[in-house]
């Protein structure tokens, strides 16, 4: 038998359950632009459609400082506090 040392971080992967999806969208929806080119084009169009079809829903726009790094902790907390839903736009 050979014994070796574990080269990984030895963490058991955390399995996360998806939050229950509600029947209707209400309240505030956050639109997160990750700051890639043309992400705003997609979100602008989406916002038009939301205003048209879901006028009772408030849309709030957010942007990551750069697409190359994870969203800063403060931004994540702000979105979680202010929104019931979030749509993140990838782009290029």
């Amino acid at each position: 038998m050979v014994q070796i040392l574990d080269p990984t971080d030895e963490r058991v992967p955390v399995k996360r359950e998806l939050t229950q999806r509600p029947e209707h969208i209400t309240g505030t929806v956050g639109f997160l632009d990750i700051s890639k080119p043309r992400g705003n084009v997609l979100l602008d169009r989406l916002e038009e459609l939301f205003n048209e079809r879901l006028p009772e829903v408030e849309v709030r726009r957010y942007a990551k400082p750069t697409f190359t790094k994870p969203a800063p902790e403060d931004l994540r907390r702000k979105i979680a506090e202010e929104c019931g839903f979030v749509i993140e736009a990838l782009a290029d």
Partner: protein
Amino acid sequence: MATETALRPFTLSDGDGTEYRFPSGRPALLCFVHEECQTCALSMPLIEATHRAFGDAIDVWAVGQDTPGNATLIERHGLTLPMLDDDALAVSFAYDLDTVPSIFLADGEGRELRSFIGFGKQDWQDLHGDLASLSSLVVPEVAWDELPESRPGCGSRSVEPGIAERLIAESEGSPLRARRLDIGDNNDIHEFLYDQGLTDGLPVVPPTPERVLRMLGGTKRDSQELVAVVPPNMAPATVEKIAINAVMAGCKPGYLPVVLTAVEAMCTDEFNIHGVSATTMGATPMMLINGPIRDRLGLNYKLGALGAGHRANAAIGRAIRLVLANVGGGKPGGTERSTLGSPSKFTLCIAEWEERAPWEPYHVEHGFQPEDSVVTLFAATGGPTMVVDHTSRDARQIGGSIGLVLEGIAHPKAHGASDTFLVLCPEHLDTLQTNGWTKDKLRARIQEASSRPLRDLLSDGESGVGVSLERFGDTGPTEEQLNEMIPKFADPSSIHIVVAGSDAGKFSSIFQGWATGPRGSQIVSRKIEEA
């Protein structure tokens, strides 16, 4: 005669499985021996005679260091004393033995009264005197005249190479804390490591506790010290975890300080390994080593400087990739999303031929001392791309050639987007030196040769890449704007220059960067403190 030293308690069995506990409440004479040792062979009859004389009052035990050898000793010398089996060498290690025979006399509570190593006639005679006083028994008859005055002992098995590392790894004070994985005899260890997703696709050196211990010998840092938190899983990388991956990569212990410093540099917010790893563009950390450590570790910076064939370059570059994948969890298809990947993702570690150029080497240019050893990390997305120029005869021409090739990196119309590492070959350097050029002069010439008027950089029917006309509003750009010359690089400082390669050949090479600056990845240089 008595010392305050308490000998380590232990329990060992003899060949029949009978257990012996030390201390037993009676005074004890512990005689560590090994069958292959001539001095042990010389001492065995004396040890047996001691047992026969004092055994009624004192535990006289042999502690033998290998099971078959113990049986041989019993048979060869007709031993009647208990021969305890320390084949695992745990007790020999706990007693910190260098030599066999090692003889310890202890009182009933295990406190050391006397000890000696090897064979000494006077030592044994004094010992017999002690035993007689302790037991009120009579010293045995020994033909002292037939024995030599003294004989040195032999090396204890517990300090033999390979065994010593295993014993340290298994001891209570072991610096190893990582989870141990047992691989059964029916498994091929290499297949196991592939199957567990722990390799980069090539075989790795199995990180046994012994090898990891030897690797840890390359640093003075505590094995459990946190070196960095590694994206994307934000996992803590201790010295030990990095050492494990360094073993797997094929590093020697001397490389470890470089790997530790490189991991620190890689995990800074400035370098942004999260983005470097995740980008579909296919970036990889390129490592540059400067300073005296280059020669101490045998890093190649001459013929074939960019690879392959040199262990230090290959293994150090590979080690940080394995740390990223195994500790940080940055694996292809997971958070590593490169469209095409790159062979440079296996390893990319170069060193500078500092002595070849009249210029300051890279690390000195960036504020370090010449005697400092420094690791620099650069996020490379492409290269090496050749600058082939056999015919230029002066500095301006060579600089022009390099500028023209550099204009093409990523896309000829993409100006101001990236930075670059230029690896200048010695022959091109010599041509630059015929005119006494500095690095700054070369940078300025590259900017000049790579400059294009805005009209050539517009996004158009030839190629959609480039400056969008929308930027200029309904009126469009003016003639003056269209004629403005725009260099390839936003700033000359985006052109990083080092010298490497063999003296023969007019081939320099360039590596292209990724998204430069705070929005992407910035070059990070760190001094190797233990170099």
